[in-house]
Amino acid sequence: AATEPKFPATQLALQNFDMTYSIQFGDLWPSIRVSLLSEQKYGALVNNFAAWDLVSGKLEKLSARDFVNDAICHGEVEAESGQTTTPSLASGSCSPNLRCFTFPRGDVSRFPPARLGSLGVMDYYLMDAASLLPVLALGLQPGDTVLDLCAAPGGKTLALLQTGCCRNLAANDLSTSRTGRLQKVLHSYVPQDIRDGNRVRVTSWDGRKWGELEGDTYDRVLVDVPCTTDRHSLREEENNIFQRSRKKERQMLPMLQMQLLAAGLLATKPGGHVVYSTCSLSHLQNEYVVQGTIEFLANQYSIKVQVEDLTHFRKLFMDTFSFFPSCQVGELVIPNLLANFGPMYFCKMWRLT
């Protein structure tokens, strides 16, 4: 049998992106492309279960800044000066107690690896700072019951716990090996008394079934779906979704994503909120999925879901991240060499009925 010509999956990914994104983003594509192919920027999420004020001080000494705090202050100043017309979307709607440090625009410094603190947990968690935005946008409030439908490897799950708002947190991921990683993260960062009991539940079930499993249950749901993981697919050959053998799977992604979002919405209490997020630039995996799912739920279940406008939210974080200006629904952080975060798409929805 003839062997397939050796063409790395990372190359196939790049070719795919060149074709799709040059059209989708036009003149913006080259600057996104060079950023995706260069080292990404990280944020340090402070562990509130450690000595967070000391940790914050340490990070400040490195000349990093808490971009969440900066954004909230920025928002408060604007509200006071009467520049915002929608006070309900002011800083109060961001999930509270999140502290995340980044280096300024254009600064390529790296954070030292996280260390174990005196309280037996790690001091901070390094992640793509843009990953925090879906959690901030979800707008947790004290006492909320929260579902993280595709939780692994656990950065966003950890952030949800950091808010201190979760009465109960259900963290699920289909893959057992990935939930294993999630457990490790929780063990390293969250004290046992919080992990124990009914406060945090980790499962490895099929997320698509959640409508049936726990319908109308949660105040806040995060649906951070599997996607083409654009940045990762350009760098890592192993298990790359652009391998020829995974072509069908890749083409089925939007369908899978819609099913997961639908399940997440079904699992939300009426009046509750959902944030859908991906780390892909693809219109087909982002807006298309949101719009398709909302329509599906309206038609099949007569459930009314409204997209929430995040314009004000985006403005709070404009100094730290580069946002794509033309999303139909939701917001998209695009990588830029000066702020090499993302890609991160997120869209907030309100289940009305």
């Binding site: 060149d18 040059s22 594509w29 080259p30 600057s31 492309r33 060079v34 192919l37 260069s38 080292e39 990280y42 254009g106 390529v108 690896p113 996280a114 790690m122 901070y124 968690y125 390094l126 992640m127 793509d128 990953s131 692994a152 490897p153 656990g154 950065g155 966003k156 289909l174 893959s175 057992t176 090996s177 990935r178 390293s188 490895s204 079930w205 951070d224 599997p226 996607c227 993981t229 654009d230 940045r231 990762h232 697919s233 890592e236 298990n239 790359n240 979704i241 799977e249 780390c279 830029n336 060499l337 000066l338 090499n340």
Partner: protein
């Protein structure tokens, strides 16, 4: 000039030659030379060159020495008084030194150097005998350089005057063989006076890389040395790497490497600008058929233009982004040479971009 060489070799006889020369009244002769119209001066220069050439090719020195005095004695006969004065003077060593200096001065003036330049040249390295200065400069003139560039080169690198003449002659002949004479040598000498001082094996190293490793033709090598003289100062391994980068990584053919003076640019500049363009999607390495999806920008628009123009016209990007890119790229290169660290070792780094692993059911 040739006479003085003779003088160095055959002491006894030289006095005869020297005293013949005395009758030329060098100083007076110099006056004559200066008052002679330029065209005639050039002829004088040309005839001198001719004689020098004959001399350097090992022609009979004696013959040369005889021709000169006869020609000029006629011109200076009227200065008999000065001659007598001179003849008395020349007996003392100091006088001999002065006389020699006068000869050298005239010779240099003859070649077309100005008074000021002559004085400067002779005082550049006092420990070097004036004769040696003259010999070296003559050699450069013989290689086809004009006085002005010679002056500039020597002024820039006075250490050239210290070189032993045998070495200088060997090097000159080698440079001629390489095709570096006349105007070509001027550029090289100004950028790279080391072309005379560097050991032969170092030049061989560079030429060897160009000929045997990079497979440039002889004419191409000449052109490269002429237009990119700094290659002589490069490490041969790095020069070879630079060529390989052009040929394999960027798909630039030999003729274009030569035509665009590619080797003149630092590898840093080349890599920074090329990789930046490549990652932007604006440069593609040609495939086996030499084709690219979209035509690549011209090499001159990548390498030759200023950074501002490169960013505005070729890259269509901003200075701020390029600055960040340069830092990131430098770090990547640095870490490439260190031992690679697997990603899994970065314990607390979130791999949010993890692959969906299908089929791993409970």
């Amino acid at each position: 000039m040739a006479l003085n060489n003779l003088a160095q070799e055959r002491r006894g006889v030289c006095y005869m030659g020297v005293s013949d020369w005395h009758r030329l009244i060098p100083l007076a002769w110099a006056h004559v030379a200066r008052r002679t119209p330029l065209r005639e001066q050039k002829r004088t220069c040309a005839s001198l060159l001719c004689q020098l050439a004959t001399a350097s090719k090992g022609g009979s020195l004696r013959k040369v020495s005889c021709v000169e005095p006869r020609k000029y004695v006629r011109e200076s006969e009227c200065r008999a008084n000065v001659t007598r004065y001179r003849l008395e003077e020349q007996r003392t060593p100091v006088a001999r030194g002065v006389l020699e200096r006068e000869k050298v001065i005239s010779a240099l003036l003859d070649m077309g150097f100005s008074d000021i330049h002559v004085n400067e040249l002779l005082s550049m390295w006092p420990s070097v005998p004036t004769q040696q200065v003259l010999d070296f400069i003559s050699e450069l003139i013989l290689l086809g350089l004009n006085p002005e560039p010679v002056y500039v080169a020597v002024k820039k690198s006075p250490e050239l005057l210290k070189l032993p003449m045998m070495h200088v002659r060997k090097r000159s002949s080698y440079l001629r063989k390489l095709g570096l004479g006349e105007g070509k040598l001027k550029t090289v000498l100004l950028c790279c006076p080391e072309i005379f001082t560097m050991p032969q094996r170092d030049i061989d190293g560079i030429v060897g890389v160009l000929r045997e490793k990079c497979l440039f033709t002889v004419q191409q090598v000449t052109r490269i040395l002429h237009r990119c003289p700094y290659v002589l100062q490069e490490d041969p391994g790095e020069l070879e790497y630079k060529f390989q980068y052009a040929y394999f990584r960027m798909g630039v053919k030999h003729a274009d490497v030569v035509r665009t003076d590619f080797l003149r640019y630092s590898i840093t500049r080349i890599q920074q600008r090329h990789v930046f363009l490549e990652r932007l999607g604006r440069y593609q390495t040609p495939d086996k058929k030499g084709q690219t999806r979209v035509p690549n920008p011209l090499l001159k628009d990548i390498l030759r233009v200023s950074e501002a123009e490169f960013l505005a016209r070729t890259a269509c990007s901003s200075a701020a982004e390029f600055d960040v890119f340069k830092k990131l790229f430098a770090r990547e290169e640095e870490e490439k040479t260190e031992s690679p660290m697997p990603d899994s070792e970065r314990l607390s780094v979130d791999e949010e971009e993890e692959e969906e692993e299908e089929g791993e059911e409970e």
